[in-house]
């Protein structure tokens, strides 16, 4: 698509939203992330690409401390959100996660109704004042996630009875409904058909106007289409990180090049 215009826009938004410095992640003895430093800019879409198992999800989870929930997981290094260390003792991970939302790789709707799935975030964060307002948020979130038409007649059916792609979009709607400042998306489109994918990409583009988005994807095309900056991971290392256009057209590292040129997805 239009890599050039996107790159240009990216340059205009230079504030660093998240700065990760020398991050190491261990699962027990396994060293899953090795010395990774990445700056996530505000109002920018950053894509993480790399072969399966290279640590993309792991690194993504360190950004909103979701790895706190894995007992054996240990993080070293600094991650600053708006200049504040998110691993600082004073930081409340809950507040952090309200700011840094997440869509998981495997769709995981709550075993509740579709409506309740989406309404949950706004409810606990007190984002709405009335039922009507809440309805509105639910509707707009579902619309943004391109799910509204399919589920508008069965908002009170269980979310777990949806198809795989629908579930994934439900999870996206759920994340969007809390209007986070940063949205981490772990392969949000992998279960989606092209049309839904296009809609989600549109959504990402829309979100970028106000927030910053980090997206893990296996589709090089998708990375090229939606992101302004791309990070390439390999075996736990950050191999290359830079403007998307540059990474795809002129990779510096031979590993990046060989990964990119095997472009198939």
């Amino acid at each position: 698509m239009n890599d050039m215009t996107l790159t240009e826009r990216a340059v205009s938004a230079q504030d660093i939203k998240i700065a990760a410095k020398d991050v190491q992640v261990f699962y027990g003895d396994t060293h899953a992330i090795k010395d990774v430093s990445v700056d996530i800019l505000d109002k920018t879409v950053t894509a993480f690409i790399g072969p399966s198992g290279c640590g993309k999800s792991t690194f993504l989870r360190t950004l909103n401390r979701m790895n706190d929930t894995i007992d054996i997981c240990r993080v070293e290094g600094d991650i600053l959100l708006d200049g504040e260390d998110i691993y600082d003792k004073k930081v409340d991970p809950v507040q952090l996660r309200a700011k840094v939302g997440m869509v998981f790789q495997k769709p995981n709707p709550f075993p509740k109704s579709i409506y309740d799935n989406v309404a949950y975030g706004p409810k606990i964060h007190g984002l709405t004042r009335s039922k009507a307002e809440l309805d509105e948020v639910v509707e707009s979130s579902l619309k943004k996630a391109a799910l509204w038409n399919e589920v508008k007649d069965r908002l009170h059916a269980p979310g777990t009875g949806l198809s795989g792609g629908q579930q994934q979009r439900l999870c996206i709607a759920r994340a969007v409904a809390t209007s986070p400042e940063v949205l981490l998306m772990d392969e949000p489109c992998s279960a989606l058909d092209p049309i839904a994918t296009a809609q989600v990409e549109e959504l990402i583009d829309e979100l970028r106007e106000n927030f910053s988005v980090v997206i893990v994807t296996h589709s090089m095309q998708q990375a090229a289409r939606v992101s302004q900056r791309t990070a390439f991971f390999h075996l736990g290392n950050l191999v290359e990180f830079g403007e998307t256009g540059q990474i795809f057209t002129n990779p510096q590292d031979p590993r990046t090049e060989s990964y990119i040129t095997g472009r198939i997805g």
Binding site: V94, Q95, R97, K106, P109, P111, H125, T160
Partner: protein, 442 residues
């Protein structure tokens, strides 16, 4: 490697599939057999209980007319209840006995040579007390002729229920075949009949001399009070402790200690909880003995490990992806637990509660030491004061009944068990309905 099933028809089963299907069938059969075994055991137990116990709900009553003689009952003639109270039930027993003899003679039912004492022996020893209460409540009855519907003696009742036969009566020192024949004649004359016995459900316990009058009222109230306390204490504390241990506690020595402690408490014999209750609640805290309050506290402590173990297992079974989902949109741990994990774990929690309460409801041993295995005839008051009044409990009543010498108590013990199980069922139905609502696969 790729030879297994190529080109074989789907309609014919290959040998291996047959074997596996046979194994499948066997496995399923084992399962069915296991359920059947359990249900069968239940049916056997229940039918033996029902078989012996149902008759406890019906009782033989005797109707007779009594002329209340002033000479016997109010010598002073003042009709002053305080003076009249001097006449004890022994005096009233004589009045009853004479009245019955007179009536039988009048009807021509009295067999030759039967002693008045034997006739009187056919009336329950509860009857004089009833009559006395009635007269003292209304002294003006004296001089009048009233109709009394009173309990018949337990052996007579046993005859109509098939427990006592002419042959056994011949050997029995407490009843004679003549009395039974008379009883039959009286039944034909409409003086004796078998009726539903509300007194068994609502009346207080009675001594060994009057099995026919023994009831469960005090025990039911006592058990109800205790279950209220157990439910109010053990469930919230148990669930709270489980939540802490499963979701919040760091893995360290202290939590290990707590964990081992809890499973160990489940293995502590219930009587030891009685020892604890005696030492802590009665001797140290000075709470009154024989009271449902202490009983409830002891049973709560005893039930706690069961509820905690069940709850923790249920919490553990909730898939972590649900937790991730909630945390990922910025729910706090507390919110995650209370909004998502707890509802999903609810069936298991309710199961633990059902089993724990069932155990608490049926337990006697710990009550032994805190004075609840007792003969209590006065109803405890209304809560909250009633929690500290002496009371019995249903399992205690069962235990007491089974220890008594008179065979009439056997049916009452089974009857008490039936009441206990109805009680349990009533408690469980709510939990079971709730559990059904929470159950779902994801």
């Amino acid at each position: 490697m790729s030879t297994a099933s190529t080109n074989s028809s789907l309609y014919t089963l290959d040998a291996r599939t047959k074997r596996r299907n046979a194994a499948e069938k066997r496995f399923r059969l084992y399962g069915m057999a296991a359920v059947a075994f359990g249900v069968l055991a239940l049916v056997v137990l229940l039918s033996s209980v029902l078989g012996t116990g149902l008759s406890a709900f019906r009782q033989t009553f005797l109707t007779t007319e009594i002329t209340l003689d002033e000479k016997a009952l109010d010598k002073s003639g003042t009709r002053d209840p305080e003076v009249m109270a001097k006449v004890t039930t022994i005096g009233y027993a004589k009045v009853l006995q004479n009245a019955l003899v007179d009536e039988l003679t009048a009807k021509g039912l009295l067999p030759e040579g039967m002693k008045a004492k034997d006739v009187g022996g056919m009336i329950s020893k509860e009857a004089p007390a009833q009559l006395r209460d009635r007269v003292l409540a209304n002294p003006d009855l004296i001089g009048q002729t009233i109709t009394m519907n009173v309990l018949a003696n337990g052996r007579i009742d046993g005859y109509f229920k098939g427990r006592v036969t002419m042959e056994s009566a011949a050997l029995d020192s407490n009843v004679s075949p003549e009395q039974l024949q008379l009883a039959e004649a009286m039944r034909d004359a409409g003086m004796l009949d078998l009726k539903f016995n509300w007194g068994f459900i609502f009346g207080p316990d009675a001594s060994e001399l009057r099995p026919e009058a023994a009831g469960l009222g005090v025990a039911i109230i006592g058990s109800a009070y205790m279950m209220l306390i157990v439910l109010a204490l053990a469930l919230p504390i148990g669930v709270a402790a489980s939540i802490y241990l499963e979701e919040f506690a760091p893995q360290n020595r202290l939590t290990d200690l707590i964990e081992v402690n809890i499973s160990n408490l489940a293995a502590v014999p219930s009587i030891v909880f009685g020892i604890l209750g005696l030492a802590v609640f009665i001797n140290f805290a000075g709470l009154p003995q024989s009271s449902p309050l202490v009983g409830g506290l002891v049973l709560s402590l005893m039930t706690l490990p069961t509820i905690i173990i069940a709850t923790r297992a249920a919490l553990k079974a909730v898939p972590p992806s649900i937790k991730d989902a909630a945390l990922g949109i910025g729910a706090s741990k507390m919110q995650t637990v209370f909004h998502h994990i707890l509802p999903l774990a609810m069936p298991g929690i309710l199961t633990g509660t059902i089993i724990g309460l069932a155990q608490a409801l049926g337990e006697t041993a710990p009550l032994l030491l805190i004075g609840m295995v007792a003969f209590v005839r006065d109803y405890p008051g209304a809560p909250p004061e009633g929690f500290t009044d002496p009371a019995a409990a249903l399992p205690v009543q069962v235990y007491n009944f089974t220890q008594r010498a008179d065979p009439a108590f056997i049916e009452r013990a089974s009857g008490a068990i039936i009441v206990l199980m109805v009680f349990l069922l009533a408690m469980n139905i709510l939990a079971i309905i709730l559990r059904r609502r929470f159950e779902r696969r994801w």
